[in-house]
Point group: C2
Chain length 203, copies 2
Amino acid sequence: MGTVIMHNVVSVDGFIADEKDDVGPLHEWYFSGDTPITGSDDPEFDHSGGGSGFRVSRASAGYVRSMWDAIGVIVMGRRLFDQVNGWEGRPPTGEHVVVVSHRPKPEGWHPEASYHFAGTVTDAIAKAQELAGERAIAVNAGDVGGQILAAGLVDEVAMDVVPVVFGAGKRYFGDIDGQVLLEDPHVVVQGDRVLHLKYKVRR
Amino acid sequence: MGTVIMHNVVSVDGFIADEKDDVGPLHEWYFSGDTPITGSDDPEFDHSGGGSGFRVSRASAGYVRSMWDAIGVIVMGRRLFDQVNGWEGRPPTGEHVVVVSHRPKPEGWHPEASYHFAGTVTDAIAKAQELAGERAIAVNAGDVGGQILAAGLVDEVAMDVVPVVFGAGKRYFGDIDGQVLLEDPHVVVQGDRVLHLKYKVRR
């Protein structure tokens, strides 16, 4: 089974964007360092599907590269899929994408690409596991990610914490209802304008 | 001028208690270690005003002790003051307390204690600075803390991040409106069931 990792960049108060989906300064650290990252892109960030431009601190580069390299499948919501038109069939990292959506895949949409549509988060993770083999499954934090966590299907929570208070906006854990215990972070990496934290979900 | 430090224990999604003011597992780390802390108590935690019982990890002990030792004045909201009846005139750490409240100090209430009431957050911090000298001013995070931060009167934000998702509840930054940039954390201490982070507010 592949490890299911919920991931996003987040403010110190738990927001991944403001009310208008503007990420403000949350993603600046991706461009403010001196170490280029090439070969893959951060799924929740690079909505264009482009493959370059990321320059992070050395500490962040080590963390981000190993994260991206581990990912085989991306699970995303329909909203993000529509926003970026599924990166035109080329997932920024990994080879497969599973979209959580009540609507089917648009007819004739990039038939060559390994994109799959599932009506529930449970079906989405089952499909993702089938595709992932031993590789990791990246779940975009936010509404769909929160639902997958609430369903007990997330193994790890990866938060790239940026030192800014948002006050309001789109939440990392979406509308999750009820407390979820995590283990102490097994990864704590200080980058420049970002603190990388990774927690296992307590079972 | 004393450093104004906003402080509280907080979930990974920014909550200091649930909707009913229940802190759930947020304060368990205060009692689960092997290193006793004596001599003062954590203001936002110890509502009884008692002076013992805290047993934290060695790493947390070093952090918490130096924090408590630095504090000369506590600034708190009226709600917390009423809940704990001002710790009966004995602040858990430091010698002075400033209460943000539109109502005056209850008549005849502990005349021996250095407790002061201020109608606005600006007046509260001015009074606290007068009392603090070179010592630090601890501001309880939450609604009043968020107002003090929004007013530009907070120097540092100290978050004791507990690995739990709350989903809803009372927020560390209260109802703050608008983004506030912080510096990268200058303190990152891993305790047991808590990660101590301290950020300077960017000026």
